[in-house]
Symmetry: C2
Subunit: 190 residues, 2 copies
DNA sequence: TACGTGTGGTTGAACTTTCAATACCAGCGC
DNA sequence: GCGCTGGTATTGAAAGTTCAACCACACGTA
């Protein structure tokens, strides 16, 4: 019970610095998106993932994994996006349990309109304030934390995740056309 | 309009690594707290701040600043904490606009019970997976981002924040006694 | 073919957060 | 004192998230 390895003062300092920055930064970015584009960051995230996918559409479960959403959260979020006309659901043709979520032209436009402000916010408050070395380290830190979370009890999950790689079927019915100029979806938009 | 400095592929990689880790990590920590202690991380955060304050109490506005909550969010959260009996509000005696929020003995106990699991989660998934050099850099990264966010339009705020340092009045009516053993509140508990 | 199990996805209720509006009080100028 | 301006805190409604069922279908097995 009392063999807890409490944080030292130095660790405490690191922890607070990290948490504070992380909370402040994401609050800033989220407010920027809500204010300037009327969408929370979570929706932006979903639409970016869709925009990068072949045909600008993904199965719900793939979209959930890509955007780190729980299935339930994604269902609700997609329902809201659909109400906005930014996204559209249709049944998957190979597996009758599944649904394909596709970005609509209006959704792509909304995303394209939101991206410049968002990217600018990220650049100014993340990339411009850190040195190249710090940025390198940040990438490594991110990787280390993420991979650390995929161990332990989750080991089981990690194991059968290895056997995974299918799922690229269906999706053929490509999203509605859209005379857009960006050949790679909205990649680069964060 | 098109002078947006889009992210390069390398920057994209850094951004994704950071965001992924940040989201996964905080989701993990939050779920750990909810599952094992029945409180969201936000509540834990509030109670830690209170536990560290002299007399284990703070004015609502000070608490909001300390925990990075908006005032409205804090009002709602404290209302919930109060319903749980973990916290208690009384009017500030010097300034009749203000309210003092105090940690109750039950609140302190709940915090003390939650801390070991939380600290362990943080240690195992943050401190144990990073090298000392990475941790040093993480602290600097945090500081750089936070201070970068306190410039620009917020410059005004930063200015009058300098003139601030009062606010240590009232608070005398110290929180209910509590035969606890930890002399420094719950500092070290993250 | 029928059954049991597991996956994909949705739903409703409870909870949390945001946003805008409100009430209340302090401090200042007159 | 009186009105003004600004700070402190709360409120209610709307939006978003979590949690625990739940339904429908796929797949393996008998």
């Amino acid at each position: 019970m009392d063999d807890v390895r409490w944080l030292t003062d130095g660790e405490q300092e690191i922890w607070r610095a990290y948490m504070t920055a992380s909370v402040e930064f994401s609050a800033y970015v989220d407010r920027q998106l809500r204010r300037d584009s009327g969408m929370p960051m979570a929706y932006y995230e979903i639409m970016v993932r869709l925009s990068e996918a072949p045909g600008r559409c993904l199965r719900m479960s793939e979209l959930a994994d890509a955007s780190l959403f729980s299935r339930s959260r994604l269902s609700h979020a997609v329902a809201a996006l659909e109400k906005n006309g930014w996204v559209h659901r249709r049944p998957a043709d190979a597996d009758r349990r599944g649904w394909i979520c596709a970005l609509t032209p209006a959704g792509f436009e909304a995303l394209a309109a939101a991206a410049p402000g968002h990217v600018t916010a990220v650049r100014e408050h993340l990339f411009d304030v850190l040195t190249p070395e710090q940025l390198d380290t940040l990438r490594e830190i991110g990787r280390a934390i993420s991979s650390g979370l995929r161990t332990e009890c989750d080991t089981a999950r990690a194991e059968d995740a290895a056997a995974c790689e299918a799922g690229d079927a269906e999706r053929g019915t490509a999203a509605e056309e859209d005379g857009s100029d960006d050949p790679r979806g909205m990649a680069g938009a964060c």
